[in-house]
């Protein structure tokens, strides 16, 4: 049997070499696996995630080779996958049984592991219905990689649709209901007027008296989704404000422009951080004229006196065999990544709950960049900043074209999170 398989594999290899270039790779006789390396030899790192995702969608099995050539994928050697990789411009190499055995031997002896990916996760993006796809890094990453997703917003969340999904990404939403405090700098701008109107209409339609009240209810539903086993990924303002919304149950932390009443004078003292996911002991920004929410964010981009300059953050190294989850989330071909601003850029260490795992930090700085934790049966990941390839992102900037950044290490971190829920459940235990 083994001999027959060997002969078959050899014959296939010889036949493949004999085929003309356009047919080689897509011919009927194929190597059993395709290796998509994720080191510097990969032609398009971001689209490689899409190829893996679509293979899962077709019901094929994929293995994520943690730390092997910067987090490579072992894909089925099917014609469909070969075709998909060719169309996407993703580098793949034929891998026969011998090559795979050799890879596995190397993995066994080093800080590496092979994690089976079994099922394409059902992905939802929390985003207003008419949001431009180019204003959210995760949406851009998914569009570029070709990962299918659906959009949900307040109505779907409140109506209990979240259990339909495995993975939820939060658009850069302000869950304190203060419209990201844009009112201070952009009052009268048509896009802001429209955004406020849309949110107010939705709050009314769902039976809430104000946007802050409605957003808190949405935040609580999302936290419940995580508790029940969902995967949550948030960037930018959503990270900070979802925790502020959760911790402020029963306390008015919104400025009067959002709900008609000022923030409670004793709001800081009344925050119940045990309700939040990631942070504790943060101090709220009590001035309604400061476009800042709290001191969770280390960079305070919209506060001229407190704004900190961008540096670079370093990804932590985890043990692939003992800690596969954080290892999956930090797979990258670069360990040091230039930082990028967002309304929330980073997270002050002082405000992190003790159980939070830090996955990237700026050495020597009082803040960290990339964190994760578990709540109930689910898990959350927070990644500070708005767009990894537009460090100074300003409203109205030209959209980021990921075809110009196919190797973006910052975007890889987002896509690591997309595939992470596909990992076999027992592999996720840490």
């Amino acid at each position: 049997m083994i001999r027959r398989r060997f002969m078959g594999t050899t014959a296939a290899a010889v036949a493949a070499l004999a085929l003309p270039a356009p047919l080689r790779g897509l011919g009927a006789i194929r190597a059993p696996w395709l290796l998509a390396p994720m080191d510097d030899t990969q032609a398009d790192h971001l689209k490689a995630y899409g190829v893996a995702f679509r293979a899962l969608e077709r019901g094929e099995k994929v293995e994520w080779l943690l730390n092997y050539r910067s987090g490579s994928f072992l894909l089925p050697g099917s014609a469909a996958t070969a075709r998909d990789a060719a169309l996407a411009g993703v580098t793949v190499h034929d891998a026969d049984a011998g090559a795979v055995t050799s890879i596995r031997a190397e993995i066994e002896q080093a800080n590496m592991d092979a994690v089976p990916l079994e099922k394409a996760p059902r992905v939802a993006i929390y985003s207003p219905p008419n949001a431009a796809p180019w204003d959210d890094a995760v949406t851009m990453a998914l569009e570029y990689a070709g990962v299918k997703y659906e959009k949900v917003w307040d109505q779907e969340v409140i109506q209990g649709r979240l259990p339909d999904y495995d993975w939820l990404h939060l658009h850069h939403e302000d869950f304190t209901g203060q419209f990201s405090k844009f009112v201070l700098n952009y009052a009268g701008a048509p896009w802001l007027t429209e955004m406020m109107q849309r949110n107010q209409d939705m709050a009314r339609a769902l039976g809430f008296s104000s946007v802050p009240e409605e957003k808190r209810a949405v935040a609580q539903r999302i936290a419940g989704f995580v508790e029940q086993g969902g995967f949550l990924f948030a960037m930018c303002t959503a990270t900070e404000t979802i925790d502020l919304a959760l911790a402020s149950a029963g306390t008015d932390i919104a400025a009067s422009f959002a709900d008609g009443t000022p923030m409670a004078a004793d709001a800081n003292a009344r925050m119940d951080w045990s309700r939040g996911l990631a942070f504790e002991n943060a101090r709220l920004e009590q001035s309604p004229t400061m476009a800042v929410f709290s001191d969770i964010d280390g960079h305070q981009v919209n506060s001229p006196d407190r704004r900190q300059e961008l540096g670079a953050f370093t990804l932590f190294d985890f043990s692939a065999k003992i800690d596969p989850v954080p290892t999956m989330l930090v797979q990258n071909h670069r360990q040091v990544i230039p930082d990028f601003y967002g309304l929330t850029t980073s997270f002050n260490r002082r405000t992190l709950k003790p159980g939070v795992t830090v996955m990237a930090e700026e050495p020597g700085a009082p803040w960290v960049k990339y964190i994760r934790g578990e709540v109930g049966q689910g898990t959350w990941t927070f990644y500070g900043g708005h767009d990894p390839e537009d460090p100074q992102h300003q409203i109205g900037d030209a959209p980021t074209d990921l075809a110009l950044h196919p190797h973006s290490p910052g975007y890889r971190l987002i896509l690591n999170n997309v595939l992470f829920p596909a990992a076999k459940k027992k592999e996720l235990k840490t």
């Binding site: 270039a21 900190q308 075809a403």
Partner: protein, 578 residues
Amino acid sequence: MTRVASFVFMLTLLVGIAPPLMAQRPQVPGDLGVALDAERRGDFAAAAVAYQRALAANQADATALMGLERSLEPLNRSGEMLVPAQAAVARAPSPAAYSVLVRAWVTHRNVDSARAAVAGWSAMAKGEPAPYRELVQALVRTRQRAEAKRAVEWGRVQLGNDNAMAYDMAQLRASEGDWTGATREWLAAARELPGYRLTALAALTPVPVRERATVRTALGTERTLEARELEAGLLARWGDPDEAVKVLIAALPSDRVRASEALRGFASGLQTRPDAARARGAALEELARRNSGDAAARARVEAAQAYQQAGDQAAARRVLAALPAGRSGSAAAASAGSTLIGVLLSEGKPAEAEAELAKLRDRLPADEWQALRRSIALGWARAGQLDRGAAALAGDSTVEGLAARGRLALFRGDIKTAVDLFRAAGPYAGSREEAAHRTALLALVQPLTADTLPALGAALLALEQGDSARGAKVLEQVGDALPAEKGGAGVTLLAASVRGSLGDSTDAEALLRKAAASALPATAPAAELELARLLLAQRRSAEAIGLLEHLILTWPESATVPEARRALDEAKGAVPPT
């Protein structure tokens, strides 16, 4: 030679050579030398130890003190600098020791003590901004920007100069997004030191679009030529060079020298911007108006060239007509003549251009004269007089001349001669655009088996003359008459491109489908790509996606694949539209 003899020989060589070699190295005494060596090797721990030993011997040794500071930084031990810096200042106060002390206090986040050190330093260097600037920069480096601003303000009070450290303040304001404040500071900095004008221009260029009006308002508060120069420079860089030149000209003083300097500076800044050629022409014309003699003539010729580059032949002629007569021997007159020839050829007047060139025969360098002859030859071709074009090239044995003769041969339909001449000219003759055009023509005609094909020559000549409709029609006929693999597919593809450029998408689509069906590696992928683009323009995305996928999978080695992938991404909405 035995091993011993060899050793002795080598030893003799080394003894003889070593002293001169050693003499070339700077002699740095003891610990300092060891420290510098270690630092150069990147062994900062060893360097720090050696610098500390040097400081133990002499606490005021500025070289050792600053070396220690440099070495401790990569070791993340900058905090240790405080004690040696204090000792150095106590032993022998100097600007170097004070600067290290200021930085050390800032590292310890003790701004009050840093200010005290600045005060001590300032007492030694009265009226100098350097101590305050050191404090400001140290604060910026450690991200204490609010403190840095307070330090600038404190320094200004101490120095009695509201504009001191404007350069530093400008950057602090810009980092906060305070573009009004930054602009005012840049103006102050440029007033203090004109060299900052270019820095200000570079620093304010990236201002976001919505903030640009704010910057212009801030500039408008100052009614100086410097402010207008900055405004004009910014407008030109923000994409409105025509408004920029108006702003500048309106603000020019009667002082000829200063006005000329401003105009020349503005024009130089636009030298590499083809989109700003008209504005450059206007600035140079104004420069000519404000000068006389050779300077005016030179400016006028440059203005005419700029206008010609902008396609404004009337303005070019107007400027050339204003050139003073009677200076026919000058270099400016020769340049004016060359420019005029270009204008005449653009207007389709090769005979007048030839007559003008004849006047310049003795005044132009030979290569320039020949280049103009080649331009005139192509001018004759465009006028349909290929024989006169060939006559204009007589005696031109340069590679550029061979290439031009190849084009004329092609216009006649003499395929064999054209291919021979193009090959003889090689791939590098002429400008990059000319070389690329010639390569495309060669690729088109190489598969043809006939030595002559007058219809193809007529079609290409029609295209050269700007008669695209006739050119496309004849190309279609030629493409139909030729077998696909013998050049027919390539000619059909060219006909399709011309049809597409004319907006005739139905015919273009039919021709592209025909060229794609040829299944020839040189033509089919290019035809499929162009067809997919045409379909995308018609919002027929599904068909376009199918075509692009077919192209990528069928012709993976084709040079069109990267463009096809880009088009596929756009068709699928995976990237923003170009």
